[in-house]
């Protein structure tokens, strides 16, 4: 089976998976009673005047059989209608689209750091097994893995912005009320191209806004990196240890190759395969991490919106939280698809076997 066939087969699996995901998300909706769901449409007592809550239930068809409601809902989702989010006071789909760049701005820079540094430390730890370097790296990795994201973020804020004063406290993105934010808000010469302040600043010919935005991205990116890097270090270490015990490594050493050549050329490349497979988990970790990070650093991205939709009191923002869940699933399934294709490309045994 060629690579193309493998990918096509894998793509076909996406359809039932996404269908299952949609059923699950809809099942969460159905856990609310029809009346609870009708109540989501009532913002104050005036809305009810002259009407009965049964009318609302009937209008929106909350008491129809589940499968009818599901097909209805699925049809709307496929047309891009995910409902209206109370938290962002906007349609769910447009909320996701406007907030996505902010989240990407935080997540994207952290990925190369995590992968490169993680692989480097993992290899270092494995090649120096049971030495002091190994112990320190492992402790650092376990430490990073044990840190509560929210606590780390708060500590970083406390240390770097309050005590040292390097980065402006409190907010990421562009802080409200700052010069840069006012400039963007007033508009005039500002035009939004991508929604990322760092890139838009350059495109608008306002490099000072880019610098300002970058400054606010340092701490959130650092938080995400520290929390997620442990995963890569651990997998890389154990996979490298396994590879180093293989016969072809011993052969390579026996024929007198330099140690660095054996490690860099023979061992590391083969040890990378398991790392590719956990990258899917990395994406999931970052998506979850972003909920906390954005909440603490006040970045107006997807994560903060989801946290507010789920957490803050008053009416529950059901369309919001379900929209976010659906979005994360799409991202996650896509990421896993790419990972699988990569895996098949790296390891011929998978596609041929």
């Amino acid at each position: 089976m060629g690579l193309a066939t493998f990918i096509i087969r894998r793509l076909l699996w996406v359809v039932p998976t996404m269908l299952g995901v949609s059923i699950l998300i809809f099942a969460v909706t159905m856990m609310f009673s029809p009346y609870q769901r009708a109540m989501l449409y009532i913002h104050n007592i005036q809305d009810l005047r002259g009407k009965n809550i049964d009318d609302i239930v009937a209008t929106y068809g909350f008491n129809r059989p589940a499968y009818e409601q599901y097909l209805d809902w699925l049809g709307r989702v496929l047309r891009g209608d995910l409902g209206y989010s109370e938290t962002s006071r906007d349609l769910v789909l447009s909320t996701i689209l406007t907030r996505l760049p902010r989240t990407a701005e935080v997540v994207l820079p952290s990925i190369p750091i995590i992968v490169v540094v993680g692989i480097f430390l993992g290899v270092l730890s494995a090649t120096h097994r049971d030495t002091i370097i190994d112990h320190i790296t492992r402790v650092v990795a376990i430490f990073g893995w044990s840190l509560p994201t929210f606590w780390l973020a708060i500590m970083l804020l406390a240390i770097f912005s309050d005590t040292l004063g390097w980065f402006t406290p409190g907010t990421g993105g562009l802080p409200l009320g700052s010069e840069a934010n006012e400039f963007v808000k007033i508009g005039g010469s500002w035009h939004t191209y991508t929604g990322m302040f760092t890139i838009d600043g350059l495109l608008n010919g306002q490099p000072w806004i880019t610098i300002d935005a970058l400054k606010h991205l340092v701490l959130p990116t650092m938080t995400l990196t520290i929390v997620s890097i442990a995963l890569i270090i651990r997998i890389m270490r154990s996979s490298m240890l396994e590879t180093l015990g293989k016969n072809y490594i011993i052969t390579a050493k026996a024929k007198g190759l330099k140690n660095s050549v054996v490690i860099n050329k023979h061992a590391r490349r083969n040890a990378l395969i398991p790392v590719a497979t956990v990258s899917g988990l990395l994406v999931a970790g970052l998506l979850t991490g972003v909920v906390i990070t954005e909440t603490i650093f006040d970045i107006d991205g997807l994560g903060r919106w989801a946290a507010r939709a789920a957490g803050t009191g008053g009416a529950i923002d059901l369309p919001g939280i379900l929209g976010f869940a659906l979005f994360t699933c799409v991202v996650y399934v896509t990421a896993n698809l790419i990972v699988d294709a990569l895996y098949a490309y790296l390891d011929p045994r998978i596609r041929l076997g």
Binding site: P16, T17, G20, V21, L24, I25, V28, T29, M31, F32, H135, R138, V139, I142, F143, W145, S146, L147, P148, T149, F150, W151, I154, M155, L157, A158, S161, D162, T163, P169, G170, R234, S238, L241, E242, G245, A284, G285, L287, T288, V291, I292, T295, I296, A306, A307, A310, G311, T312, I316, L318, I321, L322, F324, A325, T328, C329, Y332, V333, N336
Partner: protein, 388 residues
């Protein structure tokens, strides 16, 4: 009779010998690794705190998990501040706020001590629940293979496709606070299940695995009868109050099991080919007995290690839920929530460091303990690495 008992003991000892030597080997490796000793000491330390909680922090409120308040002032107070308002606490022997108070005047020391129990409960219940569900599904899927395997694993993939925290967030919202359990429905369905199992086993002479499957068929039939023919929902309703933390626990369990299913399925697929399974089949062991007595004990170790690593991760996720305000109830002894109280007092000045540093430090230490332990175990039990 006497000889018989002695013989039994001898047999038992001979049977246990490999396990004992395995345990001795593990102990030796653990003694050699400073990291695992650190992990075990941390967990023992927390276990002692949890056991002694009523002694070292006597409950002030009727519900011991409610942290006692000392007034309602919003600003936190530093360690060693005197107790002003809560006379009941003074009567019980508290002299000062040993670790200070959170914003809102919850006593940090009390919250930390009773939060330990919460942390253990969250970690062990969620991981235990997920382990049971995951192993049951994984073993069934791998053992029977074919369509059952395909269906169960696709279902697992779907749950696995959700990032944990996000699905847990949605589920916590959706789970009802009062769960109206219609006992008639459950008893009726259980009768259907048991009846069909007995019917299949005794009368139709099916194997035990098949009659279990037959029992599930009965379960579904009786459920449908109850839902559409008898329409019972008001015979015998038992309301079950779910605290906010319980909802979080259920949500995390629902999210957590697919990882174990995948792991154990791989193990079982490997073990299924072994000769001793063939032998067990040949002497006529029932499917259930093979799964329970032969497959489960031989495949569970890697899953247990993964589970011990997960306890830390689950405690972190639960703390994150609490931090977002959808975990424990306000005032419940929970470390994550105590940090969320302190959140607004970070920016102004570092003088309030204790309010967020102390609870966070305890979460870190607790999770670190489990992770160190799990990491050490993995190195010890990994057959590729162990005897080097």
């Amino acid at each position: 009779m006497k000889i018989n008992i002695r013989y039994r003991i001898k047999e038992f000892k001979r049977g246990m010998a490999p396990h004992i030597s395995e345990a001795k080997f593990m102990l030796r490796r653990i003694k050699k690794s400073p990291l695992s000793i650190a992990g075990i000491s941390i967990i023992i330390f927390f276990a002692i705190i949890a056991v002694l909680a009523p002694v070292i922090a006597p409950p002030v409120n009727r519900n011991p998990y409610e942290i006692w308040l000392d007034g309602y002032a919003s600003a936190p107070r530093p360690p060693g501040s005197p107790i002003i308002k809560n006379t009941k606490a003074i009567k019980l022997g508290y002299t000062t706020h040993i670790l200070g108070t959170t914003p809102g005047q919850y006593d940090i020391y009390y919250g930390i001590v009773w939060g330990t129990i919460t942390a253990f409960r969250v970690g062990i219940l969620v991981v235990g629940g997920a382990l049971i569900i995951g192993c049951a599904i994984g073993i069934l899927a791998a053992y029977y293979g074919g369509v059952i395997d395909e269906l169960m694993m696709r279902f697992t993939d779907i749950i696995f496709a959700f990032p944990g925290l996000v699905l847990a967030m949605a589920l916590v919202l959706a789970l009802p606070t009062t769960w109206k359990i219609d006992m008639f429905f459950y008893v009726f369905s259980a009768i259907g299940f048991i009846g069909f199992v007995i019917l299949g086993f005794k009368i139709l002479k099916l194997s035990s695995g098949q009659s279990l499957g037959f029992g599930f068929l009965g379960l579904i039939i009786f459920m449908l009868i109850d839902m559409y023919v008898l329409k019972s929902p008001s015979y015998w309703i038992m309301p079950l109050q779910l605290a906010k933390l319980d909802k979080a626990l259920i949500a995390l369990t629902i999210v957590g099991w697919p990882g174990y299913t995948r792991l154990i399925r791989g193990e079982v697929l490997r073990i299924k080919q072994e000769d001793y399974i063939e032998a067990a089949k040949a002497v006529g062991c029932s499917d259930f007995r093979i799964m329970y007595k032969h497959i489960l004990p031989n495949s569970i170790y890697p899953i247990l290690i993964s589970a011990s690593l997960d306890i830390g991760a689950i405690v972190l996720t639960a703390a994150a839920l609490s931090f977002l305000g959808i975990g424990a109830e306000t005032g419940y002894a929970d470390w994550g929530q105590m940090i969320s109280f302190a959140r607004n007092y970070v920016d102004i000045t570092m003088t309030n460091w204790y309010a967020f540093f102390i609870p966070g430090f305890f979460i870190l230490l607790f999770v670190l303990g489990w992770n160190l332990l799990g990491d050490a175990f993995r190195d010890i039990l990994d057959p590729m690495l162990r005897r080097k």
